[in-house]
Amino acid sequence: MDALLHRLEVLLPADEFTLLAVILLMPLLGAFVNGVFGRRLGDQAVSLMGLASIAISFAGSVVAFALLAFAANAAGSGESGHAAAATTFVWRGWEWLTLSARAGYSVPVEVAFSIDPLSAAMALVVTGVGLLIHLYSTKYMEGDPGYYRFFSYLNLFIFSMLVLVLGKNLVMVFIGWEGVGLCSYLLIGFWFEDGANAAAGKKAFITNRVGDFGLIVAMAMLVYYVGSLDFGTIAANRSLLLQDLSYWPPWNRLPLLDWMQTQSDWSVLSTVHGWVTTPWHASVATIVALALFLGCVGKSAQIPLYVWLPDAMAGPTPVSALIHAATMVTAGVYLVCRMAPVFALSPFAMFVVAFVGVSTAVFAASIALVQNDIKKVLAYSTISQLGFMFLGVGVGAFAAGFFHVVTHAFFKACLFLGAGSVIHAMHARIHATDAAQDLRNLGGLRRFMPHTHWTFLASVLAIAGFPLTAGFFSKDEILYRAWTSHLAVPVPDGKIPGTTVTMTGWPAWGPSVLFWLGVAAAVLTAFYMGRLYLGIFWGEFRGWRIVRRFRPRAAGHHDGASGAPGAPLEGPMPRESPLAMTVPLMVLGALALVGGFLNPHQLAVLIPGFHFAPVDDFLAPVFATAQSFGEVAIITHTEAGSVLAALAVGISVVAALAGLGIAYFIYAMRGGTPARELAERVPWLHRILLNRYWIDEVYQEVPIGTVDTLASAAVWVDRWLVDGVIAGISSGVVRVAGTVLRLFQTGRVQVYATAMVIGVAGVGWFFALPHAAARAFGDDDTGRYSLTAAPGLGYGYRWDADGDGAWDSDGFGQVRDVRFTLERERSRTVRLEVENAFGLRSMRRFEFTRPKVSRARPAAGRNTVIEIDEAGGARTVTLPDGRKIELEAPSPAEEGAR
């Protein structure tokens, strides 16, 4: 094994790691082949193509992962030759473009990819879970007319996600970021014939745009302040981010404010002026981190941009599992981990991340309590779990937060696929999408679908944090770290160097608030997952009345729920899904149970001195930079194994068991009666939760309504001002001109010929008559003038150039130019006579007068010429602007000198 890895190391050097190209391009190839040829290839070939490309990609990821682990081990054991073993493998494609940054620096942007422990783990999750979900989809999507389209999009998604994960700089990440957004849009609206699905896709896309705005701002600021978008360079030069940035007021000068300042009579105004113009400061790191986090909020569906994720459940269920649970939505967490060195510089931004995360966790969990659509429950659960992840990375436990990404990918994908399996089974009888996934139509399915049931149960226990499952280890680690972590300000005295601006530190009340909110979310999670599980698999089946050997009526496949409302349904037993769907479930379910042992910190509570945390150790080099800045240790926390740790673990175990126990009590033992009673007793609470706090409605009214109003105004301007006036005027001109010109367009050849004859006759007439025309040139300064006669057919010319009234010659010659010179204040009349071939003649006079003073003025900008007129003894100077200045008469001495 070692020998094999040695050989691979030689084959794939760390700075020319071409395996990345294979990992990346295989899904793209699959997307291309399926998208372009899929319709002709047939479903079998399409699924084979999709599966094979992802499988190769997965294999490549495994190899890359193994090589990384091997290199890390070798470095750890201090083996010679591996002392400087890289923890990052790079593949550079080409230099794509060059940005210009501050002070004329140019920032090259490369198409380059790298793989380090963090991205290797993420790539494994993406390709591994992706492979399982592809396998699942081959059966789930069977018979869909858009089969090839589905696999093409899914492969394209894997490609985009890998670009996001493996990108070496923020631009690559951004491309992947947009790519997964696009695929998400395409797959949410996969069944676009239904307008609601298309609208959901649009909602997801547009909501993500808000977040992307933040990401672009962050990239621009990094180019400006750090001069690089490469992750390594950013981490190395992050001290440049510790600068003061005055972000308010954003204007230089506003006339209104100036006016307010002058109003000393009204103290209110000057007070307001003082408020408004007081500068607000922050470190660049804080702003960059918050802008990045805005992008993460959009992509990872956190408050306030979470609204798209529940609607995204309109897509096919495998899509929900892959994109909206396991991979794409965790991209935000991944980005925070990736940019950990930047985030760690700003305790304030970190606290914002943690607080938004934990708030989202509680908020979404509370909504999930009462939802009846099983996919909606899972969607809110995803939002809630993403909140946990942000809580983890926000308190500086990047490895723990990321580990939760991994375990969540296992159990949430399993939950979604299980839900898909249930829906698949329900579709045997109920063909309305909403009714087939309504909790009130399910129940008792554990008898019919044992595989789905057991894997679902495993995942429910995992997400609830049942001891020793995957979710237990990852979630408890997050909660424990939330309680014990402290983030220090990375600069001495908390002042940004060279300024008096204080950086906001980690609040003293932070840890306890974060921890207890997290515990509340954990209780809620355990409860609603218990409710979901019990509602689906326990109790009586409520979907339809089961009839042995049921045969659908001749009306065919679609006679189910579309029949009369309220009519009792009859149908066959729900059946377990085929193997291609249950195998992924089993794999994921098993991982959900035992995946936690990749990072079992909590066992230290039971076994003193226990240390086994492969994931933490593996990821440690990636987050090493973030842990400290110079001499300052930023992220500190109480070590595991202490009493505090035991307490934290105890509390979260109690929380998980309490949630599950209450759910079991209410829904399994009492059949849901206590919950209904509670809803009747506190109807407002139930209504708030059922209607999701009316957040969607508020968004519809406030931001969207504002945009709509603006759009209406713009439409009005367009219709009445642009179209009505501007287009109206031009169309009116054209119409009038056209009406006039149409009179000439008779369509009769003779009329056109007549017009032509008239024109030709006119031209002929003009040429038949002689025209004595000439062009005069003259210079009043020198007195030289000339006259050039216009040429003509068969013309002869004769001149009276000396102005004596007699022709200079009797006959007509070919002399076309005359030149002569005039004294000042003299005039002359020159005559020209022309005779043409017909013997017709024409004569014209030209008057020339040379003025006393030149009329020619020097043009502005040229050398100034001053006219000096010495006539009559007095010297007069004429300035270019026409003024005249009398000069004194020259003294005799000067006269003599001249």
Binding site: Q750, V751, T754, V757, G764, F838, G839
Partner: protein, 206 residues
């Protein structure tokens, strides 16, 4: 000898002008074609008087031999439809204007060409070889070689164009009048396509 020249010119000019009048005035196109032939032969005669022997020959060969035959051929193709019927003589303003303008042009030409203060312009002596095939050919193949070659290209294009045009691909019928929609008429505005042609029931009357 002088008298013979005078008579020759007079006869040729008369043939030219009478032939031209015949072209324009004949009702039957075949007569026009024959008149055109006469006129062209007259012009060839005038060319001879002007010592343009080569052009006179070309005139007879190309015009009389080819172009007029082509006209006659087309008239035969069209048969009696070729326009022996009386043209409807609607007095169009264009025709009146055209006639007036043409007359004015003629008048102006005559007035302009009337001798002014000097007499008629006499042709001088004819240089040796003037207008012969050698002189014209020499000019044609030296100084006018490029236009000559272009003329061949023009003729090829004309032949191809004539073939392409006269191959004919059926008769294009006149466009039928746009269908009248009774519903649209009644309500004076565009209606939904499904309303087109629908009889006016109670629903329509409402």
């Amino acid at each position: 000898m002088i008298l013979a020249g005078i008579v020759y010119f007079a006869v040729c000019a008369l043939v030219v002008l009478l032939g031209a009048v015949g072209v324009v005035a004949s009702r039957d196109p075949i007569r026009s074609a024959v008149s055109l032939l006469a006129s062209i032969l007259g012009v060839a005669g005038l060319y001879l008087k002007l010592s343009a022997e080569f052009l006179a020959a070309i005139q007879v060969i190309v015009y009389a031999g080819a172009v007029v035959v082509l006209f006659v051929f087309v008239i035969m193709l069209l048969g009696p439809d070729a326009g022996s019927r009386v043209e409807p003589s609607r007095a169009r303003p264009s025709r009146v204007v055209g006639a007036v303008v043409a007359a004015a042009v003629a008048l102006a030409a005559v007035l302009l060409l009337l001798p002014r203060d000097h007499g008629l312009t006499s042709f001088g002596e004819v240089p040796a070889g003037f207008g012969g095939i050698e002189a014209v050919g020499g000019h044609l193949f030296t100084r006018a070689l490029l236009p000559f070659e272009l003329a061949t290209a023009l003729l090829i294009a004309a032949v191809v164009g004539a073939i392409a045009l006269s191959r004919g691909r059926g008769v294009i019928p006149k466009a039928p009048p746009p269908p009248v929609n009774p519903t649209a008429r009644m309500f004076g505005g565009p209606v939904h396509p499904r309303d087109a042609g629908r009889p006016l029931g109670e629903e329509g009357m409402r």
